[in-house]
């Protein structure tokens, strides 16, 4: 499973560790290589790519590795964007909407309860719908916004993947914490499942399911047979 490192990526080692804990082999992908190295799925980790100076994810979207990743994702490659990764996916228009400044205008780091609303994506198949996870959020620009029509469409088609169970800490529209594309292979979320893989170093091990789900999907549905 590929983990992309952009300049300013921070949670790449954590994402790789989560991949390892889930039983898969992390493959590190470098932002300036036009090469996905034959991986079966890709994680875009958290951090501050390019300092997040213009808009979060705005500059990373144009990196060479994204030039490969965008068409591959459109063709069905499973991609998980966490925090900055989610922002990059929105900037790349692989996911609708955008992430804007938190309502309180401050960076927020807190453990939140997260309800899995869609357990059909390859990244959430290991959860049951309605399951509540204890995972951390940590971001300054995590408020999801989209126009009403897009929000309605996301809800109607069941593409809200995870929702803040106790209300969004950051002003996110309709308490949305994560969404997927129409095909379900591209998932983005602001909370950090890779920081909840071991109670020793995080609030729980609830987040590991994102990574074990995709590994199970390879093993089962032959996703791994991608040419």
């Amino acid at each position: 499973m590929g983990v992309v490192t952009f300049p300013g990526s921070l949670d790449d080692t954590d994402a790789a560790r989560a991949v390892r804990y889930a039983g898969a082999e992390p493959v590190s992908l470098w932002h300036s290589d036009r090469d996905l190295r034959g991986v079966d799925a890709v994680v875009l980790p958290g951090g501050f790519s390019y300092g997040d100076y213009l808009r979060c994810g705005a500059i990373a979207r144009f990196s060479p590795v994204m030039g490969e990743l965008i068409p591959a994702a459109r063709a069905g490659l499973p991609v998980l964007g966490i925090c900055n990764g989610f922002q990059i996916l929105c900037e790349a228009h692989l996911l609708p909407g955008a992430l804007t400044r938190n309502a309180g205008l401050r960076f927020i780091h807190a453990d939140v309860r997260l309800a899995v609303t869609d357990a059909r994506t390859p990244w959430t198949a290991g959860y049951s719908a309605g399951q509540v996870l204890n995972v951390p959020v940590k971001n300054g620009e995590g408020a999801f916004v989209a126009d009403e029509a897009t929000l309605d469409e996301l809800e109607r088609t069941g593409r809200v993947v995870v929702r803040y169970a106790d209300g969004a800490p950051n002003g996110s529209a309709r308490d949305i914490a994560g969404i997927c594309n129409a095909e379900g292979n591209v998932v983005g979320l602001m909370p950090h499942p890779e920081h909840a893989i071991d109670p020793l170093t995080g609030p729980s091990a609830d987040g590991l399911g994102f990574f074990t789900s995709i590994v199970a999907a390879f093993a089962g549905a032959g996703l791994g047979a991608r040419a």
Partner: protein
């Protein structure tokens, strides 16, 4: 003018008046420079000496007392590098070593809270990086005026957002710190930042320029007019007492944490490829300090071609270039054969790198600018600086303070009064929940944080396979230290020591940041001397070394000094972080035991 002020010009114009006072040098110090050089200094040399001999860089007032801390190092079997290096290095076993240090950024944080605090984090992180270590966590010890004071509303949110912005963007977990309020900090908040780094034993790097012909490379951000003169003027002079004149207020430095992140990764890759002979971070005093210290640390000399230094503003004079505090820069000494490989790694990380000079054999630090020689000095003379035996005396107000013991205080008479007192205590800013602050910090990034806020000590996993870890805590208390700086400092040492022990770790080393008022005030000097004596004696008792620290003087508003505030950081080694005890009651019916007296 300074463009042409070469050593030849200086030699021929001994009478030229020079602005040494404006640069913070005394008459005597200026004369001493002239004696060393046998002529008047050039404008560039004057700038260089003024920053190197500033209180901030030379420790000229505190040095005689700091010597008392040295013996604490001898008793440690853990120490790989001690006081004098950028930061002390401690062996933690299994081939790992840890380096840590706490540093102040008080004055810049008052002038521009967000950027001042941000660049405080940036500076201490580069210090740790320069030792050869990967920075793995930060902590921040903060002190402000009363929570409801006007300036606190400006300074506190700015400082916290600055630390949050820089530390989070850099990907360093913040694993603890302090937040305290007291009227004595209203005009002079304390922003002390700690960074800890991890390395393998043989990764240790030194700040020395050795090896004739080796190249000197400046890399990172370009040099601009940021904070020119900051070290000599800002950190050495009391501000707020100049009648509102802002002439002394230097331009502020703006932090670029993204560049720092690139610099960190770039340096670590350079270290791993064994391309670095010596390295130094650029902090206060910028190029002046880095070149002087590298040259003074080596055995030869150094030549620098100042025209090669990449500038953000082409109008800078040599003096300004030397004094600029532009952030996110490092300087390395590299073998000629390895320069290409060095530059290639910098390119990979998008870090600008330029060969600006080389190691020479003449024992001098020489710099040229547009064809003329503007600096030619024995580097040791600038690096060592003057040493002062400032007079000190126990303040005569102390007796009155000390007799006013707690016996005379009003006590709650009944249950209702007790409840009321308790609620007032719990609601006081000093004891209230710190979440408003700590929520803005990422404590989880890198995935090795075992304990952080709200625990008393932070605990980090170092080795996933064995569970080896380190614990850290910082403590300070200006009120105790006002009453008795000797005892107060020991109390703080003991508290930090206990907080580390609480995590299950064995305390092994101490760092400290000594925040005091003006050393020209004998009462303040006495507090400083007593605090250091207390720390030294306390460490001897506990059998642990002081591995480094930082002294911040002139913390005062007008004639009024802050409470003497040594902030003590203790590092511990944890054999297996999986066995950490948590704070708080965990099991129903468990026994509660009080230890100690």
């Amino acid at each position: 003018m300074s463009g042409e002020d070469t050593i030849e010009v200086a030699g021929g114009t001994p009478e030229t008046a020079q602005p040494f006072k404006e640069l913070g040098l005394t008459e005597d110090e200026y004369q001493k420079i002239r004696d060393i050089l046998g002529r008047r200094p050039t404008a560039a040399e004057l700038a260089l000496y003024s920053v190197m001999w500033s209180e901030h860089c030379s420790y000229k007032s505190s040095k005689v007392h700091l010597r008392n801390l040295a013996p604490t190092a001898d008793q440690s079997q853990y120490l790989l590098a001690g006081i004098g290096a950028n930061a002390g290095v401690v062996d933690i076993g299994q081939g790992y070593a840890v380096t840590f240090k706490i540093e102040s950024h008080n004055h810049p944080s008052f002038v521009e809270p967000h950027q001042g605090a941000a660049t405080g984090i940036g500076g201490i992180v580069r210090d740790i990086l320069a030792m050869g270590a990967r920075p793995i966590a930060v902590m921040d010890a903060l002190r402000f005026g009363p929570a409801d004071a006007h300036d606190t509303a400006r300074v506190l949110p700015g400082v916290v957002s600055g630390i949050s912005f820089y530390g989070n963007c850099l990907g360093l977990p913040n694993i603890g710190g302090e937040l305290a309020f007291d009227a004595s900090y209203a005009g002079n908040p304390l922003v002390n930042a700690l960074c800890v780094g991890l390395m393998r034993h043989d990764d240790l790097k030194a700040a020395v320029a050795t090896g004739l012909g080796n190249k000197v490379i400046l890399f990172g951000s370009r040099t601009g007019p940021d904070g020119v003169g900051g070290a000599s003027v800002l950190a050495s002079a009391t501000f707020g007492d100049d009648g509102g004149k802002s002439a002394k207020r230097p331009s502020v430095q703006v932090g670029d944490p993204f560049m720092e992140k690139l610099l960190v990764e770039c340096c670590l890759e350079l270290y791993a490829a064994d391309l670095v002979e010596g390295i130094q971070d650029l902090g206060a005093a910028g190029v002046a300090c880095a070149t002087t210290e590298l040259a003074a640390g080596g055995d030869g000399g150094m030549f620098v071609d100042m025209d090669a230094i990449p500038l953000r503003d082409p109008n800078l004079t040599p003096a300004e270039i030397l004094m600029s505090e532009s952030q996110e820069r490092m300087m390395a000494v590299v073998k000629p054969k390895r320069v290409d490989a060095f530059l290639a790694i910098c390119r990979k990380w998008d870090v600008e790198a330029t060969v600006i000079g080389e190691v020479t054999g003449d024992g001098l630090l020489t710099m040229t600018w547009r064809g003329g020689t503007v600096v030619k000095i024995p580097p040791q003379t600038a690096a060592d600086g003057p040493v002062y035996q400032r007079p000190y005396a126990r303040p005569d107000t102390l007796d009155a303070l000390q007799v006013a013991g707690p016996e005379g205080l009003h006590r709650p008479a009944d249950g209702a009064a007790l409840r009321d007192t308790l609620l007032r205590l719990l609601g006081s800013p000093g004891l209230a929940d710190k979440r408003w602050v700590t929520q803005q910090y990422d404590s989880l990034v890198r995935g090795n944080t075992v304990l952080a806020m709200p625990e008393d000590g932070g605990l980090l996993r170092v080795a996933e396979e064995t569970g080896l870890g380190i614990a850290l805590a910082t403590d300070g208390n200006g009120r105790y230290c006002t009453l008795d700086p000797y005892q107060g400092t020991q109390l703080m040492l003991a508290e930090a020591y206990r907080n580390v022990a609480m995590t299950g770790a064995v305390p092994v080393a101490v760092t400290n940041c000594l925040n005091f008022g003006s050393p020209e005030d004998p009462a303040v000097m006495w507090q400083l001397a007593e605090a250091i004596r207390g720390l030294a004696d306390g460490c001897k008792h506990l059998g642990i070394p002081v591995t480094g620290g930082n002294v911040s003087l002139y913390n005062q508003t007008g004639a009024t000094a802050i409470h003497p505030t040594p902030v003590i950081g203790v590092l511990g080694v944890h054999e297996d972080v999986r066995r950490r005890p948590g704070a708080g009651f965990t099991v129903d019916g468990a026994q509660v035991v009080l230890l100690g007296t």
